[in-house]
Amino acid sequence: MNKKQKNVLARILISGALLVLLHFLPLDGVLGGWLKPLCYLVPYLIIGHDILRKAWKGIKNRQPFDECFLMAVATIGAFALAAMKTGDYVEAVAVMLFYQVGELFQSVAVGKSRRSISALMDIRPDSATLLKEDGSEERVDPDEVEIGSLLVVRPGEKIPIDGVVVEGESALNTAALTGESVPRTVRPGDAALSGCVNLSGVLQVRTTQEFGESTASKILDLVENASSLKSRSEAFITRFARVYTPAVCYAALALAILGPLVSLLFGDDPRWLEWLMRALTFLVISCPCALVISIPLTFFAGIGGASRAGVLVKGSTYLEALADASTVVFDKTGTMTEGVFEVAGVHHADRPEEELLELAALAESHSTHPISQSLRRAWGKPLDLSRVTDEEEIGGEGVMALVDGLQVAVGNEKLMRRLGLEPVPCRAVGTVAHLAVDGRYAGHILIADQVKPNAAVAVEQLHRAGVKKTVMLTGDRANVAQQVAERLGIDEVRAELLPAEKVAEVERLLAEKTGRQTLCFVGDGINDAPVLTRADVGIAMGALGSDAAVEAADIVLMDDDPLKIATAIRIARKCLRIVRQNIVFALGVKAVCLLLGAMGIAGMWLAIFADVGVMVIAVLNAIRALKVK
């Protein structure tokens, strides 16, 4: 609790105690009946002086219809009523007291969730340790570190600025960025992203960014500004409060005047005071704070909970759109597959597979083609480059080289035919590298993009989360795309698309959906920017360290696990469910209480429950959105 809250708490306790004390004092009839109201005025002013002052200022600034005004009118009215008729002053003080209890609870609850969310996002480094050329170290403000500086990061410290590890080996905890609990091992040459916590060894990092452009700063900026894009529900609440409070005030006024007039018309006793009391009760019930506080709080908690799971949401409006997702469109390479080509098999080899792989790796040892890289990775052992001579790269066909004096050719069917050999076609789907050794066909190596381990489960979870249709778009060949889609259980697939055709395809799918349903596009964010922007919700994955993705997408998945898509949709659905519960609950209880109050069944005690009680329950419900399964 801060100073202001402690102050309010003290006032609540003092006036509460005074109220109990006064209840037991024989004040009735003393000093011609004037002592009692004066005594009750003391706790009333202790607890309510700021409300009265605010209400007065509101009137002075021509902004009269706020909560303070409602409370001031209601309690002053109750006081006047007690003085004139009932002699029950407790009610006026108690109403003010409970109102303050409610306000205190609300401000403590909001402060607490505010703190717990900022604790989640506690990735801002306080300082950086600069390693100078003379070997001495200096602690500096991360803002002052220039690109290319050498930093020392000790175990337990956060990496302050993005960079590359120059010396040392260590495990990094990336949980704050990705929600992933398994530490990531880094060695010299690996990227070290700011916001990760160094766990085991001392690292020297050469910075590649300025602090303001580093991952940690960007993510913080994104999350802190997230709730500025307001959702429909939030905008509704703001508009609602603007109309609602004046409407209720006029309704109360009508109740106080028309009620007795109608009674008079029927020849009854007008009972002015009773109708006035009902009008005041009406005012107390009507405070809109439960709604006004709980809806933004729910979204805030939802966004906070999501960032803990490694899902960054750029605004509550996207959370809302995501909850209505009916179609999810995926990019293939890099999203559902690893985007890295790996050797899937060696077929029709005329010698041991290992030997064939070694020959291929050696022949391709100088090529930078992705296929060559995957061949070298598959061989996995150091290559003796002195065994390779006379390399020749034939663009679009392959490579020829002399390995140990033997003529080795690695490439596609065209290359084989150029050598006058008939390649054996491969039945499996993927890229095929044929080999010829010493003028004879020696078999082929199948290289395929690997489907991500969680991809199939992710698609299944999406369907279970209520997504009606899953579509995969890819620039890859149709048979490859078809096979991947079948393995993953994706409903529709469009292959051999150019980037512009992907946009057209998304447009077509957008036109197909009805009503409030939304379309999400999931891509790796690097070449999908136009589609990410066009879709209702653009989700970029594996965004850690990729600025383009963070810019273009509405929702950013920090690591590249497709399971997070379903997680994000579940979080959004839960958040929106809580929002709806709170709207229905708060408005429902209020409506019933207003009706009871107008009919004179509910007194001011029930009124204050309707106000404070509903607010407390709605706030507690809202905080549930912070918890993510």
Binding site: Q63, E67, Q106, V110, N225, K230, P288, C289, P296, F300
Partner: protein, 72 residues
């Protein structure tokens, strides 16, 4: 030009009122108040000097919600 300011305000409704008041201030193109993060993001009109506009924003906010503060 867009700038972010830290604010102090007690209730969400009051924050909405501040947003409204800030938007109506001369020199302000748009304003968003984020109650949960206690921040006000003000986009100034072309050529407007934030140093001159912000006192007006605060004065307008004080009119609708006495108990508020903007750090600028």
């Amino acid at each position: 030009m867009k700038k972010t300011y830290k604010i102090e305000v007690d209730c969400a409704n009051c924050a909405a009122k501040m947003e409204e008041a800030a938007r109506k201030t001369e020199g302000v193109a748009s304003a968003v108040v984020n109650f949960m993060a206690l921040k006000m993001i003000v986009e100034f009109q072309e050529g407007a000097d934030p140093k001159k506009v912000m006192p007006l924003v605060l004065a307008n906010c004080k009119k609708v919600e006495d108990d508020c503060e903007i750090m600028f």
